[in-house]
Structure formats: C-alpha cells, structure tokens
C-alpha cells in the first residue's frame, strides 16, 4: 500500500518533469539552454518514472531489467548530450549571450 503510494508520487513527479523539460526544450532561446531543458526530461524524468515503475514491479525479473535500463540510460544520455554539445561548439554555434568562440576539432 505504502509502496503503491510512493510509486504513484514518483510517477506523477516523473510525468511532471518530463512535461516541464519538453516545454523548456521548445521555449528556451538557444541550443545550449534547450539542451539544459532536455536534460531535465532525460535524467530526472527518466529516473523518477523508471523508479516508479520499478516499485510497481516488485522483486521480479522485470524490475532488474528496468534497473538495468535506468543505469544504461544514465550512462548514455549525458554522453550523447556531451557529444552533441562538442559537435555544436566545433561548428561555431555560440550561446546566445557569449562572445563568439570556436573549438578546434580534435583529430
């Protein structure tokens, strides 16, 4: 019962942060701030939603798979964000308020 309640709270918060991040990714002024908003859905939202579903699953194989999914996502999605930011910086996309700057490619 308590587990159910906790999982509901987690799922609600997760859905909320997923939505907030989505709105931010649409509304923010430049690429880097948009990436920041997207990270709210990619990390926080993912953690909350998957934690909520894990609590629903209980001690089963499904919970293990969900935990593995969560761990791998926490590795891969920041890496993808880092790669994307490197690519954008290399191409000379500047943050809205910063002075122009370009990173040289590492061969």
């Amino acid at each position: 019962m308590i587990v159910d309640a906790v999982s509901w709270v987690l799922l609600t918060l997760g859905g909320f942060s997923v939505l907030i991040g989505g709105i931010g990714a649409l509304r923010m002024p430049d690429l880097y701030t948009r990436m920041h908003a997207a990270s709210v859905t990619d990390s926080l939202g993912t953690m909350l939603v998957l934690a909520g579903v894990i609590l629903q699953a209980g001690f089963t194989l499904a919970a293990v798979k969900l935990a593995a999914t969560l761990i791998f996502l926490l590795f891969t999605s920041p890496t993808a964000a880092n790669a994307l930011a490197s690519a954008a910086l290399m191409a000379g996309i500047n943050p809205g308020l910063a002075t122009p700057w370009r990173q040289e490619p590492r061969s």
């Binding site: 791998f72 590795f75 891969t76 890496t79 880092n82 790669a83 490197s86 590492r106 061969s107």
Partner: protein, 329 residues
C-alpha cells in the same frame, strides 16, 4: 486507450514524413528519418508485433543513422535542385491516395477477430506450435521452422546485398585525390580524443555484446533471434570503430574474417537443410536432427538462428567499413 496512443503516434509519423520530404537539408532529413524509425518502432510494439519493434529499434538506432551519415560525408549534405514536375507528381499522388483511402472502407477494422487473415493460417500456427516445435515465441517458430525456406531466401538476399556493396565500394576510386585517413568518416582515429564518449562507450561495448547474445539465444522465449542479435553486434562494432578509429576496428575484426562470417552463416543455414535431407527428412525439416522430433526442431532453430546472426553481423559490419574507408585507400 491503446488505440488512441496508436492514432497519436501515427499522426506524428505522418508529420515527420512530410518534414523529411520538405527539408532540403539532407543531414536534417537523416535525423528526421531517425525520429521516424523511433516512432514507428513504438507503433509496431503497440500493434502487438514485439519482434518487429525490436528489429526496428536495433536497425534504426544502431545502423541506419550511421550509414546515412557515412554516405553524406562522401556525397553532399544539401539538396541543390528543387523538384521537377512537381505539379504532375502532386496531382498523381493525391489521386492515388484518394483511391487507396476509398478502398480502405472495405477493409476489416483494426483488431477485427473475423478478418480473413485471422481465420486461415494464423490459428493453425498458434495451435500447432506447442505440439510440433514447443517454443513459446510463435514468431520464431514460424520464422525459423514453418517458413524456413522464406528466411533462407531473406538471408541470402542480405548476403547478396553485402556482396553488392563490397563490389561497388571495395576497390579504390580511380583518378580521385587520396584523402588523409583523418578526413574520412571514422578513419584513422575516430573520436579517440574525445574522452567522455570514449570512456563511456568502451564501458558499454561488453554489455551491448552480452545483450546481443541474450537476444540471440532468448529468441525462442521472448522477442529476439538471429536478425536482431546480428544487428546489435554490428552496432557494437560500429560503436568501437567510431570511438577508436576504423583502422583499429579492422585490426580487431579483419575484413576477411567478416566476409568469411557472412558466407559461413548463409552456408550454415543451407547445409542444415541438406543435413536434414541426408538424415531422411525434407529440406529444412529439422525433426530428423534428433531422436525426438521436437528436440530436433529445437536444435534446428538454434543452428539456423546462429547462421542468420553470423550473416547479418558480417554483412552489416562489412558495409560500414566500405563506407567509412572510402576515399582513403
């Protein structure tokens, strides 16, 4: 509820497709094609086709974006000319779409249990699979045993496509200036100097390979099988090539070995069929492979799924190398 999720996703799918056709930036089109693949995998899952969704996931996330980018690095990433005969094409396309939509009113509705397709072959497969083959995943049973001929053909098509790519791109281009390996896609060093992707990627490659083995051998019990596992193995090698440079990937898995793998997989499949004939059964009738016909079917499925996995892995990695190395050799 599921119906409404499907309708929403299909609408997104149409919007994405329109955007793909409309944009003149081919790089953007490749990214939108990635989104298209993600949404369609989700739709397939909701339409009760878990195996297809897994295949689409592996292909769309692991291989097709990389292939498109490799080809764009060799050609151009912008459309120059617009469209020709746009008006005629639009009229024709609209007319055909109208006719197609008109004919759909006679189609059985989604999920109709009395649709002709649900009444004929499908119930037989669902009923006889536990008796003849006894694996939980009916899709694998149909794929590998009941329709084994079909899958043999498909495996050889994949193999032939791989041979075609090797023929077209295997030899160095004539009369073109040689590029330095640092300037080809995933050439000499790849992303070796980008530490964060490199550390994380190297950490994950063993897990991806392990997961591919799970998909390969769990294919009888859940979604999976040789096709999906082959694509996932290829994706992990592509990841290695991106991180460490194509040269080092070729040192780990030489091109000759990949060709051998592709050929050996297709041959393994074919020879399993011949072995069945030699043991007194029909071509690809695995029941004769063991004393118990059901066990024979299990062995047969295991062997031919391995063959399919070998071929898909070998062909897809060879294709990646052909695109990546183009221009430097």
């Amino acid at each position: 509820m599921t119906v409404f999720i499907i309708i929403f996703l299909l609408t997104l799918l149409v919007i994405t497709a329109l955007a793909i056709v409309q944009t003149s930036n081919l790089f953007a089109a490749a990214m939108l094609a990635g989104i298209f693949s993600l949404i369609s995998a989700m739709t397939f899952f909701l339409l009760d086709a878990a195996d297809v969704a897994l295949t689409e996931a592996a292909v769309g996330a692991g291989i097709s974006t990389v292939l498109f980018l490799g080809a764009l690095a060799l050609t151009a990433d912008h459309e120059r000319a617009g469209t020709a005969g746009r008006l005629i094409a639009l009229v024709v396309v609209t007319a055909i779409a109208a006719v197609l939509i008109y004919t759909t009113f006679d189609m059985p509705r989604l999920g109709d249990p009395n649709a002709p397709s649900q009444l004929h072959v499908a119930p037989w497969y669902l009923e006889k699979t536990p008796e003849y083959i006894d694996v939980p995943n009916v899709v694998t049973a149909v794929l590998a045993s009941f329709r084994g001929y079909d899958t043999l053909g498909e495996t050889f098509v994949v193999f032939t496509a791989g041979i075609g790519v090797l023929f077209l791109l295997g030899k160095a281009p004539v009369g073109q200036p040689k590029l330095s390996p640092a300037m080809t896609f995933a050439g000499k060093a790849g992303l070796r100097h980008y530490q964060i992707p490199r550390v994380v990627g190297r950490l994950l490659i063993p897990f991806i390979l392990l997961f591919a083995l799970y998909v390969q051998f769990h294919g009888d019990y859940g979604p999976g099988g040789g096709f999906q596992a082959g694509v996932i193995v290829a994706a992990s090698i592509v990841l290695f090539a991106l991180l460490e440079g194509e040269e080092r990937a070729l040192q780990a898995l030489p091109a000759g070995l990949l060709k051998l793998l592709a050929a050996a997989g297709a041959l393994l499949y074919g020879f399993t069929g011949v072995a069945c004939m030699l043991l007194g059964g029909e071509f690809l009738n695995y029941s004769v492979l063991a004393h118990d016909p059901v066990h024979g079917q299990h062995y047969g499925i295991l062997i031919i799924e391995a063959g399919v996995g070998f071929t898909v892995t070998g062909v897809l990695i060879s294709i990646f190398h052909s695109f990546a190395a183009r221009g430097a050799k």
